[in-house]
């Protein structure tokens, strides 16, 4: 038995060394965003009265769908911070765990590094085990930092037990997704597959919890992200969800280890079937190739975005009935004359969906550099294929992805919404609200193109920028942030239809910026060395 794990610890240390900067950035960013919240709430809602008013708006099913359940009768600074932030932070902790895990297992395997290591006297399970230890370690460090950081804040409602539980909740969720990823890295036979499946499951768990929290309580109990919101940090302090998380992780990890010991290197358990001897005509061009390589991801994201739209749309009906006759709420939320709560909610949801729809678009564009790093472009560029054609093909796939994702999200929202709402929003309005995000998405794609042309090794900054945009827009609703913060993201300039007026200048302004970025990207890309 111990043979299988031989040298895991050395590999674990090596992994930490290789990743010390990457992991530190993740840990500090996540801890920082958690720790600044209570102080900011203290400033924004100094009196219990303000907080109770906030608690009332949080009873809104749309909010419940987004941030989960909280102890609204006891809405102290601590309870409020935990309620509004723990789920969204936990989602990011989950994404961190997935990305770090795949990077050290499947990606290493694809690049032949695992093969080198397996040739040394290390156990068959050593890589998997070392990576598991490493990602768990990162989560534990994050949990401890968060716990200590909350304890030392001079805010009364931040108790010691709650602080520990907050850290444990974030770490525990991270460990759950570590285990989930460990399993998918065995089942799928590529790093992209493993990442896609894991993030897909994370989104599924999020939606499952949302549906559960709104009505069918039991569903939330089947989602690790449901457990995340059941801890009731800083009020009742439930620890049972943490134990549930650890038990879940243990079982899933055990399964992953068993599968890993069985499968071959570079294979997945989903078997590969024999393929075609001849290429079909639509593969035979740079665009055809770019599209074909991303076909599975494209379809999965399209389906995912539609489902996301449907799941948000399905709560639109409850919104109206919920607010009927509740004068207090109407006073607080209805600032925009002439628009229903549902319409305001649609504006906010479209922002979130617009940014999520940017993910597949950015993945497609950034793949151009991924191909280069894997030295797959060399053979193509030895043919009469120009740099502009190649980059143009990836741009086109990214743009198609952007359109399809955001429109399907809008259609899903409209379709589900119109079956449950008494006074549904028209199809045209909804498509308009979706399309309003296209220019901002183009800017993100253009930025990626520019970086690929100019300084491709930092192209992952596009993700940092998207996360920044998300946080600013998400938090912008909670705090009165300075305009400046949202002015530097393209999403800050989008007209939030149907509540905002459609503004022509920012719409075409963003398109203009995107065009400039793309042209610059194409120019620089045509001039630089290709690495392989």
């Amino acid at each position: 038995m111990s043979e299988l794990f031989k040298r895991s610890f050395q590999l674990f240390k090596l992994t930490i060394r290789r990743d010390r900067i990457r992991a530190s950035i993740w840990i500090f960013a996540l801890a920082f965003f958690t720790l600044i919240i209570p102080g900011s709430f203290q400033n924004l809602y100094p009196d219990q009265q303000d907080r109770d008013a906030m608690a009332v708006t949080m009873e809104n099913p749309a909010m419940v769908a987004m941030v989960g359940e909280g102890d609204l009768d006891n809405y102290t600074i601590g309870a409020m911070s935990a309620h509004q932030m723990v789920l969204i932070t936990a989602v990011f902790v989950g994404i961190m765990s997935i990305l770090l895990f795949v990077r050290h297992t499947r990606t290493d395997e694809e690049e032949g590094r695992v093969e080198l290591i397996r040739a040394l006297p290390v156990g068959r399970l050593a890589t998997l085990h070392a990576t598991t230890m490493y990602v768990v370690f990162v989560n534990v460090v994050l949990a401890v930092l968060v716990a200590i950081g909350l304890m030392v804040q001079p805010i009364e409602s931040l108790g010691i037990e709650g602080a520990l539980l907050y850290g444990a909740t974030l770490g525990g969720t991270g460990i759950c997704f570590t285990a989930v990823t460990a399993l998918f890295t065995q089942l799928s036979d590529s790093s992209r597959g493993a990442t896609g499946w894991s993030i897909g499951l994370l989104l599924f768990f999020y939606v499952l919890r949302a549906i559960g929290d709104i009505g069918s309580e039991a569903l939330s109990l089947f989602s690790p992200l449901g457990w995340t919101t059941k801890t009731m940090i800083f009020t009742e302090n439930h620890w049972w969800p943490i134990f549930l998380m650890l038990a879940f992780s243990f079982v899933v990890l055990l399964l992953a280890y068993r599968l890993n010991a069985k499968r071959d290197l570079e294979a997945g358990l989903f078997p590969s079937k024999p393929g075609k001897a001849r290429a079909s005509n639509n593969l035979l061009s740079p665009f055809g190739l770019a599209f074909r390589l991303q076909r599975t991801a494209f379809i999965s994201w399209a389906v995912g975005m539609l489902l996301l739209g449907i799941s948000y749309g399905s709560v639109l009906g409850d919104l109206d009935s919920f607010f009927q006759g509740n004068e207090m709420v109407e006073k607080i939320l209805v600032q925009e004359e002439g628009y229903s709560i549902a319409e305001q909610f649609i504006s906010i949801i479209m922002t979130v969906m617009g940014m999520i729809a940017t993910i597949p678009a950015l993945i497609s564009m950034n793949k151009l550099y991924g191909e280069e790093k894997k030295s797959r472009l060399e053979l193509l560029y030895a043919k009469p294929v120009s740099r502009k054609t190649m980059m143009g093909s990836y741009l086109l796939v990214a743009v198609i992805n952007a359109f399809v994702s955001v429109i399907l999200a809008g259609i899903g929202l409209w379709a589900a919404g119109s079956t449950v709402m008494d006074d549904p929003v028209s199809f045209g309005t909804m498509i308009g609200a979706s399309l309003a995000y296209i220019p901002a998405m183009f800017v993100m794609i253009g930025l990626s193109a520019l970086l690929i042309g100019l300084k491709p090794n930092v192209v992952s900054l596009t993700w940092v920028y998207l996360v920044y945009s998300f946080i600013i827009v998400y938090m912008g609703n909670l705090f009165q942030l300075d305009e400046w913060f949202s002015n530097v993201t393209p999403f800050g300039h989008v007209s939030q239809l149907p509540v905002d007026e459609f503004e022509v200048v920012p719409f075409f302004g963003l398109i203009g910026v995107a065009i400039v970025l793309v042209v610059a990207g194409l120019t620089f890309y045509s001039k630089r060395d290709i690495q392989g």
């Binding site: 024999p274 393929g275 001897a277 290429a279 593969l283 894997k374 797959r376 060399e378 030895a382 290709i530």
Partner: protein, 299 residues
Amino acid sequence: MEKVVDIKRVTKKFGDFKALDEVDFSVRKGEVFGFIGPNGAGKSTTIRILLGILKATEGQATIFGKDVWNDSMEIHRQIAYVPGDVNLWPNLTGGEVIDLFAKLRGGRQTKRREELLERYKLDPTKKCRTYSKGNRQKVALVSALLSEADLYIFDEPTSGLDPLMEQTFQEDVRNLRQEGKSVLLSSHILSEVEKLCDRVGIIRDGTIIEQGSLEELRHLTRHHVLLETTSSLDGLRDVEGVHDVNQDGNTYRFQVNAEQMDQVIKFASQYPIQKFESAPPTLEDLFMRHYEGTDEVVE
């Protein structure tokens, strides 16, 4: 002779590191040119510059008289390339990749596809992820050989092939030569270069240190000579062109510059010689000298 590839004082820097330092050589029409040198000498870098994938920091390189960077599209219609490390898309089959490459090149689609697949024993229905290194290389080779190009650039094309496939490949290169095609072949397998190439260029630390036909290169290096006599050979060391004399009783081993062999024979003929053996330098001797980086290269 018409020059198909012409590289003039090409320098390539990666940051501060000079990977190529005024590289200068040419490949003539209809010849097989061997490009050899130790690991990291700059062979692949030179080839990538020729392909317009890397941009030369200084100097000029042309193929068919066209600039490799500015006119790469036109050039690429007439060349075929096989890298040493072939990276393909894991979820496409070998057959799909071969069709894709043929279409992208835009050249005539020949009916030799099946024949070549058969010849290289390649199963086109397998996903690239399941191919071994040698099989991935075969995909690129088959695709290159299908292409009816005028210039073939091979960067260590046989590094993953088994000996049988290596022979097949060598036959195909000979056929290309007979058809009047030009070939630039970078390789570490000296016997292969010796068998196939008309001319050879040797690169070390980013500089071409020798260039010429094998005959010419041999001429530049020393023959190994063994002499056995009954008396001692006084004054052998002073004969012009004699180096590294090793004496064991009355047996002498030494090296002679090719041009000065004449003097040595004249000198030795004054003595009662029992045995005279002279071996021309193998390509290997020639390389070893350069690979080891000694200064013994004859000026």
